[in-house]
Amino acid sequence: MADSDEEYVGDVTEDEDDLQVSRNDRTRSGKRKQRGAAEWELSRTWETLVEGADGTISSTVEGLLEAGKRKRLLKDTTPLQRGIIRHLILILDLSQSMSEKDLRPTRYLLSLRYAQEFVREFFEQNPISQLGVLGLRDGLAFRVSDMSGNPTEHITSIQNLRPQDPKGLPSLQNGLEMARGALFHTPSHGTREVLVIFGSLLSSDPGDIHQTINTLVTDKVRVRIVGLAAQVAICRELCTRTNGGDETAYGVALNEQHFRELMMEVTTPPAAYSEKRTASSLLMMGFPSRTVEADPSLCACHSKPSRGGYLCSRCGSKVCSLPAECPSCGLTLILSTHLARSYHHLFPLINWVEVPWNRASISSACFACGLHFPPVPPEDQWHTAENHAKGMSASSRYECTACGNHFCIDCDLFAHEVVHNCPGCQSKSMRVPGNAAITSDGMDTTA
């Protein structure tokens, strides 16, 4: 049991480091330099265990667990251009070569896990983009999840692949043709991209893949490939030709971390794709509401009769799906929920601070969930608990400096990673601080 606990901590550490490195170089010079990216496989988690005063290691293990929970990403406020509509098809190789164990636990499980993280990260970075997932197995390409903007759907369908086994040979051509079909109808103002996770060294194709590459070039579909085994000539040609001679779109993963980096690279919105408008501009956008009419009418985008649809907020033409550009007045129409998905980056929740024992007596229970805190010990025992892991509060209380309420570690974690709201601040009648919230990252004593 103790073993798995340690592994869990180590796991989280790696992930956090990876993400931080890939996101922001600034964090490399952070306090956790000793666990930098280069040393990640040499981290000996057992060496950090120190015997407590009572001769057991339980307190240290608990401390590590809590400190691991407490560690979190630095808030990403670097101005990325998120207003780009990307259309991306993620193709997963699910053939028998994916059952190799050179990447732990297997290539298959690891790529499924990274695919889920990729989906989440992709929508964080590109909130108004669309994504679809395909799988390659038994020489066929099959649809894992349809093109949509909802990350939960994709993640659920990727999770459903887990109990299945990888089998057969992959067909790169079939996958590309299916991806091309899915991307064919996407509007021209968005990008068309394909990301292939390819573990095999061959592709068993029904026809000439070079013709497929030609049609991809004509349709302006860009293909990026992450190889897991070795470089394959056809993949290299495919990437080079569809990216206008750029060879960096093809990468072969050296190890787990490199694999992850290669995948996460793709989530960054492409910078050079918008040629017409300058890097920063104010876009006029419409937030149409969904309507359903009693009688079918033709939509403006495909001229197909339908009852449901979205009416352009400016001219009232009906479009079938969002995001889209209004065919008659040219207004960009998007769902406001897509935009709102990235707002927690704009107004990040300030980090909560640890509460020392001398201020702990004002609260007895977590403000949000009502969990009772450990009672305040006599004053002479305060300092004995000081050798706890960094980032952990000795009194198990964490304080929001804006509203002064105390919270438990689980609510702290939940508030910062899932809800992005402070239960205390939102429950009192005070207005959201707005712009002030951006700069208040200075209390990061814990990360």
Binding site: Q81, I84, S281, L282, C315, C329, Y343, V419, S427
Partner: protein, 376 residues
């Protein structure tokens, strides 16, 4: 339960269907309830709500309920009481004798029903008593975002606690799902993905809303954050709309696949609650739910908190403004922005002049069409 076999004990965790946790966010905005007083007084609504809660608790012995009040100046717990343990306070004040004496009719009541009823009414009364007229003046909104966040924190706590009681596997799962990149327990997340649907504590949120949404536009971002958290945790948000208009709540139901109902007849509150909102997620798979097909997807702008349907969006940070910001600088990220040629005339396709006739005419003049001549 029926079998006396000892092995039953081990199967119990998997065969038993998980109970469901119903969290009710009850909008107690005094302004809105005052306006509703003719058709549905607050006391009737609370009574109806309590009957509904009892019905929910009666469905399964392990079902749980929580009630948060979204009041005009704060959000507060109605049940369970968070800060003081309720049993000690009543014992301190009343003692055993007083309890028996005060409520002789209550002794036959199913104990969970009675506890909920007592606490909800008591806390609601305290909440109303603590509301000063100064709080109400110039404040017609409700703390929906805070109530939603409190509800979510409670659900999170209960989910963790429930998973700990019934084997730690689900806890890992919930952490991996909720924490995203934080809880990177990849293998744990997948193993139970198929089963966790039924094994996990089933949580859902019901918002009983009376306030208009235009008042709560300043809470747009926190409310949306709460909605996305629900979406991520697969918690449906049901909305029972008694009065007012709810822009963001429609989006909440749409995003989390909850039930949205606007009551045409507020007096029938109990009927609506029992028919539409009582079934939990498992039962809903077999039902035809009242679906809402029209969804209002308008957003609130960041500058004046207006609800808009056409707005200006900063392409860097995606902030929404109702008009071009001053100095063409984004108020959120500070980037100087290029204003496109908005407000210009839309590009109209010039109507083609019909030249066909003239062409026909000239061609007719030049080379006359050969008319079919009847053959000999």
């Amino acid at each position: 339960m029926n079998s006396v076999d000892a092995s039953e004990h081990y199967d119990l965790g998997t065969t038993d269907l998980a109970p469901s946790l119903l969290t009710i966010v009850f909008d107690t905005n005094p302004h809105a309830w005052a306006a509703l007083n003719q058709s549905l007084p607050l006391s009737n609504a609370v009574a109806n709500l309590l009957v509904f809660i009892n019905a929910h608790l009666a469905c399964n012995y392990a079902n749980e309920v929580a009630v948060v009040a979204s009041h005009s100046q704060k959000a507060a717990w109605l049940y369970p009481s968070q800060h003081e343990t309720p049993s000690t306070t009543t014992a301190d004040r009343d003692g055993d004798v007083a309890m028996n004496g005060s409520a002789p009719a209550q002794t036959n009541k199913y104990r969970p029903f009675r506890i909920v009823e007592e606490q909800v009414t008591k806390n609601l009364k305290d909440l109303m008593d603590s509301t000063s007229s100064g709080d109400l003046r110039g404040n017609t909104s409700t703390m929906l975002a805070g109530a939603l966040t409190l509800a979510l924190s409670h659900i999170n706590r209960r989910t963790i606690a429930w998973a700990e009681e019934h084997g730690g596997a689900d806890l890992e799962d919930a952490a991996a799902e909720g924490g995203g990149s934080g809880g990177g327990t990849g293998s744990g997340a997948g193993r139970h993905s198929a089963a966790n649907e039924d094994e996990r504590l089933q949580s859902r949120i019901l918002i009983v809303s009376v306030s208009g949404s235009s008042d709560s536009a300043h809470q747009y971002i926190p409310v949306m954050n709460g909605i996305f958290a629900c979406q991520r945790l697969q918690i449906p948000i049901d909305v029972c709309k008694i009065s007012g208009d709810a822009v963001f709540l429609q989006q909440a139901c749409d995003a989390t696949k909850g039930v949205y109902m606007a009551l045409s007849e507020p007096r029938g509150l109990l009927q609506y609650l029992m028919m539409a909102f009582l079934p939990d997620q498992r039962s809903r798979r077999h039902l035809v739910l009242p679906t809402r097909v029209d969804v209002d997807f308008r957003a609130a702008c960041f500058c004046h908190r207006r609800v808009v349907d056409v707005g200006y969006v900063c392409s860097i940070c995606l902030s929404i403004f109702c008009e071009p910001p001053p100095n063409n600088e984004c108020l959120t990220c500070g980037t100087s922005l290029d204003i496109g040629d908005f407000g210009g005339k839309p590009a109209l396709i010039p109507r083609k002049r019909k030249k066909k006739k003239r062409v026909n005419g000239t061609s007719a003049a030049g080379t006359p069409m050969s008319t079919p001549t009847p053959g000999p």
